[in-house]
């Protein structure tokens, strides 16, 4: 368990080393980056090995920091944090593997990448709201430079939009946190203290406070209608960064909702609950429909991310143990799957055929020239559709179960969302890889130019992510065994109705 804080420090050290030594050659940069990512993942796994699930956060580090407002450097973890730390380790490693071919200023790329990762690890491990906010903010600026420097379509606009939305969301969160802090007489910023202070407020105050916190965090999670940054930003970003953004960074928002917004204002949450469920459903369905009509491969995946995050938010809004457990499981599952999807679209396909337009891809019939990416994308698409055998299915099943308890209509809406997800995923799968609807007779003249073979980092990254989603799909207890006890913590109990099975 005590290995967990080192995930943050190792990532920061890696970033520093990359700036210092990595400029020598791209190979040095790549090696350092992979080592850092693997170290982080290993530390996460070590922490997981020594973890016994209990309700409540288990403190890792707790030292005074800023005496005036009572801020402490307080790191702690429970089952939920652990699941997300593991996800980060996986996503970071896969992201490095799929960014292996970044040649221009690779050291700076990976340095910014790991600065972002360290912020992410920090958010998942913080037990002091100020500290959580600091890490949340640290994760914002590297995104701008990663996208603006190494991105593709419309990168400066996409980067600015993404960063400004994230920052605006965090501004709302700051306002909320300061308000809660003030309500407690300014004694401290620990999550426990803020919870005590804020839940003691009258309902009339809890409602706007909850709104600030949930919407603030929700912006980063792709809450409808504040989600428009996500497709633009993810499309603009380079592959490794999109994998991270859609895979992990969006989960920061959802995690903030779960860890901060929900426990702090139970009465506020109760008032907002119907609207939140509606917004989550709107996100699922709207993004799904928009994905169905996109003409750019990457945009489909971008919108699919918003749709899948809608499931997470729906689970949180339903607020029963199964629903929230499903939401956390979906966070992990979608993190892995989004990584796979962006990896195939960006690294395997786009960097070889230099087009993302579906009509161009359809004419190419790529499954013949790129069989391995086709297979990977088939599996990733099945996982994304919520097919049993992959991690998305137990997550969506849990969300459906938990949501039924709260509002059966939401469960039906979610089921409709599953169908739409199947529709747009299948459409993009068949159009992008399996050629035209009516097979054209091959023209004799020129065989298509041979495409670059699939490199070993791509294979390794794909194998890693696929293994993760299949393992969790067949044995979700591995993660649920951590998540469910964590949901019994005293902080979450006032929110969750129903009993844990």
């Amino acid at each position: 368990m005590s290995a967990l804080p080192w995930t943050i420090y190792v990532s920061l050290a890696g970033a520093t080393l990359l700036l210092a030594l990595g400029r020598a050659s791209p190979w040095v940069a790549r090696g350092l980056a992979l080592a850092t990512a693997l170290a982080g993942a290993a530390l996460g796994a070590t922490g997981a090995a020594g973890f016994t699930a209990q309700p409540g956060l288990q403190t890792l580090v707790n030292i005074p920091w800023v005496a005036g407002p009572g801020i402490r450097y307080h790191l702690a973890a429970d089952g939920i944090s652990l699941v997300l730390v593991m996800l980060t380790g996986l996503a970071a490693t896969a992201g490095v593997l799929f960014s292996w071919n970044v040649r221009e200023r690779a050291a700076e790329f990976f340095a910014l990448y790991f600065l972002l990762i360290s912020g992410v690890y920090g958010v998942f491990l913080s037990a002091d709201a100020f500290l959580l906010f600091v890490f949340y903010e640290i994760a914002i600026v590297p995104k701008y430079f990663l996208i603006a420097n190494w991105g593709s379509t419309n990168r400066e606009y996409g980067a600015m939009k993404l960063v400004l939305y994230s920052f605006a969301g965090s501004a709302l969160v700051l306002a909320g946190l300061l308000w809660a802090h003030a309500a407690g007489g300014g004694q401290g910023f620990g999550l426990a203290e803020l919870t005590r202070a804020a839940s003691a407020l009258p309902a009339a105050q809890q409602v706007p406070l909850f709104g600030l916190l949930f919407v603030g965090f929700g912006v980063l999670a792709g809450l409808f209608p504040f989600h428009t940054w996500a497709p633009t930003g993810h499309v603009a970003a380079p592959t490794g960064v999109s994998m991270l953004l859609a895979g992990v960074v969006m989960k920061l928002g959802a995690y903030g909702c779960l860890r901060v917004a929900l426990p702090l204002c139970p009465a506020g949450f109760a008032a907002w609950q119907p609207l939140l469920g509606g917004l989550a459903l709107a996100g699922i369905l709207y993004a799904g429909f928009v994905a169905l009509v996109q003409e750019d491969f990457k945009f489909v995946i971008g919108y699919s991310s918003v749709s899948h995050m809608g499931f997470v938010l729906l689970g949180l809004a339903a607020a029963t143990p199964q629903a929230v457990a499903g939401a956390v499981l979906q966070m992990f599952s979608h993190g892995v799957i989004a990584g796979l999807l962006f990896a195939v679209v960006g690294r395997m396909v786009y960097e070889r055929v230099h087009t993302r337009r579906l009509d161009h891809l359809q004419a190419l019939g790529l499954h013949r020239q790129l069989p391995f990416p086709a297979l990977v994308f088939v599996l990733a698409a099945l996982a994304s559709m919520g097919m049993p055998g992959f991690s998305g299915f137990p997550a969506e099943l849990s969300i459906l179960i938990g949501t039924w308890r709260t509002a059966p209509l939401w469960a039906l809406g979610a089921a409709a969302g599953v169908v739409i997800a199947a529709a747009f995923t299948l459409r993009v799968l068949q159009v992008s890889f399996f050629g035209p609807a009516e097979p054209v007779a091959p023209t004799d003249a020129h065989p298509p130019p041979a495409l670059d073979p699939i490199t070993w980092p791509e294979r390794a990254g794909a194998a890693l992510l696929l293994a993760a989603t299949v393992y969790v799909g067949l044995k979700p207890d591995a993660l649920l065994g951590w998540i469910l006890p964590a949901l019994q913590s005293p902080a979450l109990q006032p929110i969750l109705r129903g009993t844990t099975p």
């Binding site: 005036g68 920052f167 605006a168 306002a175």
Partner: protein, 484 residues
């Protein structure tokens, strides 16, 4: 009333070092400078100036807070100590970067003026007398006017100095008028006396006029809206190191004086009493500054003007900090001012280095800075991000502390709370315009044929020290806060 000269000397040691240093610089240059090259003379002057500043800094550290001295005209408390340290540190950073970046004749005069200005600042930091405070303020201001116009090769510099002087003189007039009204109402020039005098009488229209005058005067000096109109031109035209000093140390010293004036002078001795008459006016100034500063900065294409408007916005936040410093003590707002000063100095020093090698006025002049000089690009990024309030830089913590105090003061529905919420909302706007600058510097490719930039050693040291301080104070704010 006997004057204890040893105590006086002890209290004024920093100022003595500075004035002595200034005179020495002038004298030495006059005596020996004829045969030497301009660069040599500039270097010698700068070295002497640095020595003087270092001596003053040492003196400040050595003097433990003692209390009122010199017949109540000075108060050596933690606020004074911290402010003096901050001012001296900022001046040190600016002066260290000057050789090599500022190719000016009359370098000795330049250094002397800088030292005089700093002396004025350090006096302002500790004074509790209206008269001494005014004298110190004017000492500093006159020196700064001259520094702003020091670059005789550019007409913008003269224009900047003239504008600054005109507005500043008007401000001084307002201030003096307000002070004289206060003296008239209470019969005392020292702040404790004024407080006693005001407590004994009801709030009269004359007092309100005095307060308004004082606020107007300080508003001009601090570049708070709607008295900020001199700032963009002054920041744009003045030589970059001068602008750095104007933006940073002047604000810090002025803040300290203003704080003292408002807290110990104009409020009733009981701190938790009904809100003072100046609260509303201050709130209006703060709000206007925040809104005008942030929104006007959005449309700027010139980096200096952008920094000027950003100064206006930050002045708004500082005024918010002043508003709540009654309850929270001066810690948060002084921390904010110090870290704001550091970040601004860093940004202007980057511009100063660029000025010497191609000019840095429009955003586009910064294009490709990353490639031309990674050091400058990195420092610029650190400073602008600190101004934007991004952790782990100190600017974030400064904003956080001030806003936390504001919301604690009365909750989100109260006046300070509402202003804090507005400021938080506007910070998203601020990030946009800072990122626009950083986009030029770190994303855009350099203009074809743009040469690499050589950063002089002194400037490099200054810049690195600035960033190091921003990080250190950001990660360990108690280094500063626990001095209070």
């Amino acid at each position: 009333m006997t004057i204890d000269y040893s105590e006086l000397l002890h209290a004024f040691r920093p100022e003595a070092c500075l004035v002595a240093g200034a005179l020495l610089v002038l004298g030495l240059d006059l005596a020996t400078g004829r045969g030497r090259t301009a660069e040599r003379r500039a270097r010698n002057a700068a070295l002497l100036g640095l020595l003087a500043l270092a001596a003053a800094l040492a003196a400040t550290f050595a003097a433990a807070p003692t209390g009122p001295v010199a017949a109540g005209t000075m108060l050596l408390d933690p606020l004074a100590r911290v402010t003096r340290t901050g001012v001296l540190g900022l001046a040190l950073l600016v002066l260290a970067a000057t050789p090599g970046t500022l190719r000016l004749p009359h370098a000795a005069e330049y250094v002397a003026l800088l030292l005089f200005a700093t002396a004025g600042f350090t006096l302002m930091a500790g004074t509790t007398s209206l008269l001494l405070g005014f004298v110190a303020l004017e000492l500093a201001s006159v020196a700064l006017y001259l520094l702003a116009g020091f670059d005789k090769s550019r007409p913008e510099s003269a224009e900047a100095a003239l504008k600054y002087f005109l507005f500043g003189a008007v401000a001084a007039a307002f201030l003096l008028f307000g002070f004289s009204l206060l003296y008239g109402l209470t019969g005392a020039l020292e702040l404790p006396g004024i407080a006693r005098g005001l407590a004994a009488q009801p709030v009269s229209p004359l007092l309100l006029v005095a307060v308004v005058m004082v606020l107007v005067g300080f508003g001009f000096k601090a570049a708070a809206a709607p008295f900020h109109l001199w700032a963009p031109d002054a920041y744009q035209g003045a030589p970059a190191p001068a602008a750095a000093l104007i933006a940073s140390a002047a604000k810090l010293a002025g803040l300290a004086f203003f704080l003292r004036l408002l807290e110990s002078g104009l409020t009733a001795p009981a701190a938790d009493g009904p809100p003072a008459p100046w609260t509303g006016a201050l709130a209006v100034l703060a709000t206007l500054s925040l809104v005008v500063g942030n929104l006007a900065a959005l449309g700027q294409g010139n980096v200096r003007r952008l920094l000027a408007y950003s100064a206006v916005a930050h002045a708004g936040a500082l005024l918010l900090g002043v508003l709540v410093s009654g309850r929270a003590g001066p810690g948060p707002v002084v921390y904010y001012a110090v870290t704001y000063g550091l970040a601004t100095v860093g940004a202007f020093l980057v511009l100063a280095v660029l000025d010497g090698q191609g000019g840095a006025q429009a955003h586009a002049d910064l294009a490709g800075l990353r490639r031309r000089s990674p050091l400058l690009a990195g420092v610029l990024a650190a400073c602008l991000l600190s101004l934007a309030g991004i952790p782990p830089f100190a600017g974030f913590l400064g904003k956080f502390l001030v806003f936390a105090e504001a919301l604690k003061a009365g909750g989100p529905a109260s006046l300070p709370g509402a202003i804090a919420l507005l400021a938080i909302a506007l910070s998203a706007v601020a990030l946009y315009y800072y990122l626009i600058v950083l986009k030029e510097a770190l994303v855009r490719a350099p203009a074809p044929g743009a040469p690499a930039i050589r950063v002089p050693a002194g400037a490099a040291l200054s810049l690195i020290a600035t960033v190091a301080l921003l990080l250190a104070l950001g990660l360990l704010p108690d280094l500063l806060l626990r001095r209070f």
